[in-house]
Symmetry: C2
Subunit: 381 residues, 2 copies
């Protein structure tokens, strides 16, 4: 990257931006259970159906008048040219792209190793087509054997534009507090790869109540389910001691930590006031608190859509640990041209300006400078 | 209340403070399923077992060496003298007491009407013993018929020290977006009673993972389950239009809104970007947003245990809408004398001082002035 074209203090970096490369779309097209891609006679774009909450509308969609499940699979999901167009439209200098959920979580053990290799090579090749403008978070074949996963970490370590791995909350199927994940966390950390923790599974459907699927669209699972899933996952990691056991682990939490900045105080109070934990000596004076981890091992994206949320995230983690993101290609504009500006992007950019002042040192850091430093985006290109 | 003793600008009011009156404890003692009170040979205080997550330890507790389920039922739960002592110890001038969870949610329809009347009269009598120092939120017999519930609202309206009703998230069994609740919300609002929305049910156990019940104490269900439950309940109310349909409804959200201040931006974005809601014309320009409701019909307690959380709550709802609380008798000190100062109280008082400045106008408002104005604590005594 030429430092004259993109001096780090004015560079805009998008660290939360997804793609489904063509080979991945093919897998989704071949499936009959969620996640899947399916065409319907009522519409030109095929539909991308990702969430279990969409299963009901998937059944109903045989009726031509029924509402279609999921979301349209537009060119924004798989086209690199479209990604670059989106970046140019929004003055985004660099994107750190990642496979979107649910990654390879649903693949048979025998398939996931080769698929991870293929997807990671595809991401690597895309970055190579736009050197200095694209980096990526790789994908791990978590349903395969430990050896296969560790080989994949090693593969990613050698890929020039790879800066981390995107990770869901299921881990090996038992969540991220599973001790069997420790060798993987250790290998990722030792390879200087940053984990990007991202939700997919949300919460069990029953919590949304009987009216949700018919009346509230995707609002509850996306707004609340996703953010609560992330918060639960990282809190379980904290309670299990992962951050102490793997001190070099670095983890970006999607959506400004889900709700962790707001709840960290209550989590701390519940720990201090828990009879069992106190009795077992787990609440000692040298304990690293949730606040310590937020300021040391955790980074947050700035995808929180409000000044209120962003200020809380900054207060919890530090203006030097927040990184701008767009969540492209999700949340496209519904009433304006998809090729133009996206309000989901401008809401988050405006939140940064409002929270720390437009053009301030902190704003420049959050909009790009932090990502360049934290993810070493000025090295090796 | 003599205004010379407690001028409203220095008065400390605790609006989040619970009791189980003796008649309610008796019911819990008679039960064999959760919620219940049970004695164990290993300890002097009986144990109060409230949460479904405690069912496993309840079974195991037959073994004298096993860890005991729930929490000790100390005198703090049922003794009025103890409540007054707690208030004096913490310089709390006025408490607005309420029945603790799970209220009357588990009673047979035939029992809940008489029990609500008895509990509400007991609370009323307790307040009468300390005029000017105690007010209360009443309890509704939600498992009974609509007529019985409306009679109970009417009963509460006539009780001198009653200022509202405490409400769980199950409503009539289908959540608070159930249209059958509307007449109850209307009656409560018309009676100038404020709802205190409080969690109890948390989230389904599976989200905490296989290690939680053995290793993490109550941390996950209390820190995350409670706050997420509240957020889900109020978001479902918002999406179903309750706040528009009952414009006079006023609702205090426990624990500073659960996570609503932090997530309001994302909820708004998910609404604006939801294909179904946009298609159905539910995202019009005159729509009252979540932010509007937070600044108009919602109040928040200040029970969030951090400056970060409290500042977000204030930014979302306004310093004139936050009200101090303690959550007594829950979260007692574990390593110091229960008759002395409670750290769970000082954490929240310190958060107010840090967020808005000790002794500032805003601090005085949050510590008591707001509650006096909002709940009319200087009237009719």
């Amino acid at each position: 990257m030429s430092s004259s074209r993109l001096p780090s203090d004015t560079c805009v970096v998008d660290i939360h931006t997804h793609m489904y490369p063509p080979s991945y779309i093919k897998i989704l097209e071949s499936r009959s259970t969620i996640p899947l891609v399916r065409s319907f006679p009522q519409t030109t774009d095929p539909r991308l159906i990702l969430l279990e909450t969409e299963a009901k509308t998937l059944d109903e969609a045989k009726d031509a008048a029924a509402k279609l499940p999921g979301r349209p699979l537009t060119s924004h999901y798989a086209s690199l040219a479209q990604k670059i167009h989106f970046m140019d439209t929004h003055q985004i200098d660099i994107s750190v792209i990642s496979l979107a959920n649910p990654w390879l979580d649903f693949l048979d053990p025998s398939e996931s190793g080769p698929m991870a290799e293929s997807v990671n090579n595809e991401f690597s090749a895309m970055c190579g087509q736009h050197p200095g403008r694209l980096y990526f978070f790789g994908t791990l074949p978590l349903t395969a054997s430990l050896d296969t996963v560790l080989s994949s970490v090693n593969h990613l370590k050698g890929l020039r534009y790879c800066r981390g791995v995107i990770l869901g909350t299921s881990g090996l199927g038992k969540g991220l507090d599973d001790p069997n994940l420790l060798p993987i966390f250790e290998a990722v950390a030792a390879s200087q790869l940053t984990i990007f923790l991202h939700p997919h599974y949300g919460l069990p459907n029953e919590v949304w109540g009987p009216r949700a699927s018919a009346e509230y669209g995707h609002v509850l699972p996306l707004a609340l389910g996703f953010t609560m899933e992330t918060t639960i996952a990282v809190t379980r990691m904290y309670l299990s001691g992962v951050f102490d056991k793997v001190r070099e682990l670095r983890m970006i939490l999607a959506h400004s930590g889900g709700t962790l900045p707001f709840l960290a105080g209550r989590i701390e109070s519940c720990i201090m006031h828990d009879g069992q934990l106190v009795r077992e000596g787990k609440v000692g004076k040298d304990r690293r608190t949730v606040w310590d981890v937020l300021k040391d091992q955790v980074y947050l994206d700035a995808v929180v859509y409000s000044e209120v949320g962003l200020k809380a995230a900054i207060a919890a983690s530090g203006a030097d640990r927040l990184m701008f993101g767009t969540d492209h290609p999700f949340f496209p504009p519904l009433t304006t041209d998809e090729q133009g500006e996206w309000e989901s992007v401008s809401m988050n950019a405006a939140a940064v300006s409002k929270a720390v002042g437009e053009g301030s040192t902190e704003a420049k850091a959050i909009m790009g400078g932090n990502a360049i430093d934290i993810l070493r985006l000025n090295e090796d290109v």
